[in-house]
């Protein structure tokens, strides 16, 4: 409740929660309320069949009946707009009180960021467009969500979303990422559809927590780790605890604190190590890079940049980078890389950059 809400409003709100609102209406209120309800009914029907000519005509005629009708229609739309802005949040648990109210199917999908399309030269380009702040997080109740949510997946660039699941597991979802959860009495599983996520898993010995990314399966019991599916080669890094990683049909690899498993171009998994406190630095906008090709680093920067980055040149694969970069400021990161490598940044428009690496 906002600071502007006076005692009157508060009293009103309590009334509505008791469902006893209709108690003290005047006759005029009642008429208006009846019109408002008619308008809502019409709007629900129009949402249902937006291409129905007869229904459009009916809506138009209804509004013509009086200024009060027209005003009611306007209020119905304002209502729908206000509700629409809030709903994605209602499901994702960003509002802590509502974590326990996930729908019964317990299958939810989170999306963040918005990679709009992919093309030939550059695998991941993004549309510049617009950021609808309220729509940053979407969620759906079915596995084949990606498609349902489409209209909602227009979200901010460079956002990290943090979510707490009802079992207490904390999840941070990187920019331009999508994650589907399926939690039931016997198991908890999360499917990383794209991008990266960091999990701090609540211990529950009866319900193992698994993360799937492509054909990689990570099984955990109480731990904190990162799964990164950028470039479709799921990598797993463990900040705390122990996880078992199974890459496709290959054998299982057990990772402890500070271990990283990555998948090489040949499809085989490799073990590496990293300082545990540097895992998932992207949660607070830092990127730790240790001896990685420039092309990969650019790939990691891309979701944070509001615009297109086109990368080219032979150096993308051969030049290697080490450093700590500020993801919130991709331009500065590029400039830092340019200090040590022959990297040329051409700005075509405020939104399009070409990065060439000799």
């Amino acid at each position: 409740m906002g600071p502007h809400a006076g005692p009157h409003e508060r009293a009103h709100r309590i009334q509505t929660f008791d469902g006893k609102y209709a108690g003290s209406m005047t006759g005029e209120d009642r008429n208006m309320s009846a019109l408002d309800r008619e308008a809502v009914d019409l709007l629900v029907r129009l949402d249902d069949r937006p291409d129905d000519d007869a229904l459009h005509a009916q809506v138009a005629q209804w509004q013509e009946r009086s200024p009060a009708h027209r005003a009611s229609w306007g209020r119905a739309l304002d209502l729908a707009a206000a509700v629409e802005a809030a709903l994605p949040l209602a499901l994702t648990g960003t509002h802590p009180d509502h974590i326990a109210t996930l729908p019964a199917s317990r299958k939810v999908t989170l999306l963040s960021g918005g990679r709009r399309w992919q093309g030939g030269l550059v695998r991941r380009r993004r549309v510049v467009a617009a950021v609808a702040a309220a729509a940053c997080l979407g969620l759906v109740l079915l596995p084949n969500v990606a498609l349902r949510l489409q209209a909602r997946d227009i979200t901010g660039t460079g956002e990290v979303r943090q979510v707490v699941l009802e079992d207490g597991t904390r999840v941070a979802l990187g920019p331009d990422s999508a994650l589907a959860f399926d939690v039931n009495d016997r198991q908890r599983s999360a499917h990383l559809l794209r991008g990266r996520a960091f999990f701090d898993v609540a211990h529950d010995k009866d319900r193992p927590f698994r993360v799937l990314a492509d054909d990689t399966v990570v099984t955990v019991l109480g731990t904190a780790f990162e799964v990164d599916d950028i470039s479709a080669k799921a990598s797993v890094a463990v900040r705390r605890g122990t996880v078992a990683v199974k890459y496709g049909p290959a054998g299982t690899m057990v990772l402890h604190k500070g271990d990283v498993a990555t998948r090489g171009p040949d499809g085989h998994a490799r073990r590496g190590s990293v300082r545990a406190d540097r895992i998932a630095g992207w949660i607070d906008g830092r990127m730790f890079v240790k001896d990685r090709p420039v092309g990969e680093v650019l790939e990691d920067l891309r979701p944070w940049y509001r615009g297109y980055i086109l990368a080219r040149g032979p150096g993308l694969a051969s030049r290697r980078v080490t450093g700590i970069y500020d993801l919130r400021n991709p331009d500065a990161a590029l400039a830092a890389i340019a200090k040590v490598h022959p990297l040329r940044v051409t700005r075509l428009t405020p939104w399009v950059k070409i990065v060439s690496v000799e």
Binding site: P3, H4, D47, D51, L77, A85, R116, Q118, R148, D229
Partner: protein, 179 residues
């Protein structure tokens, strides 16, 4: 999930474009019914098409028509909400000229109110009876039609409609509107 470039065939893209051309007028009409502004409706439909093609190159869209209508609806509602937010700033002053002052950002006060509205809607949705909440979310968030919502929950279309409309009315009351 990485998909190879060219997931959407040229044929399909063309079909979508044909669909867009045929339905453009109807989409504009729909947007105008929501925004109440014909010129703005044109912009919204154009914007929607851009977003649609962006998504279509990234994934296969199983029901392009519904998807496109849904984008138009969301954009139109967003624009309506933004305008309402801006309008609220000036409503109390009632000055004729004030609306001509360009405002990129709603004031802090308006933003606080908007955040408060979100919280109220969330509270209301959480407090809905289970069946009502599920019907409401399936319809509003997943974009299922009333018939589909009914099928999912074992209800008739008219009961599904009733539940969705009731949920909206509850939100209205929580927002303190329409009194």
């Amino acid at each position: 999930m990485d998909q190879p470039a060219g997931t959407v065939t040229g044929r399909k893209a063309w079909d979508n474009f044909g669909f867009f051309v045929e339905n453009r007028a109807a989409l504009v009409r729909y947007a105008a019914a929501i925004t109440g502004d014909a010129a703005q409706a044109e912009d919204i439909v154009q914007d929607a098409w851009g977003r649609f093609t962006g998504s279509a190159q990234q994934q296969t869209i199983d029901d392009p028509k519904r998807f496109l209508y849904r984008i138009v609806r969301n954009l139109a509602l967003d624009s309506r909400r933004r305008r309402a937010l801006e309008g609220r700033l000036f409503a109390d002053d009632g000055g004729e000229d004030l609306h001509q002052i360009a405002s990129d950002q709603p004031s802090a006060q308006a933003q606080v109110e908007a955040a408060d509205e979100l919280a109220r809607v969330l509270d209301t949705v959480a407090g809905l009876p289970d069946r009502t909440r599920r019907a409401f979310l399936l319809n509003r968030v997943e974009g299922l039609t009333l018939v589909e919502v009914g099928a999912r929950l074992g209800l008739s279309k008219s009961v599904a409609h009733e539940l969705v409309a009731t949920a909206l009315e509850r939100c209205r009351k929580a927002l303190g509107r329409g009194r």
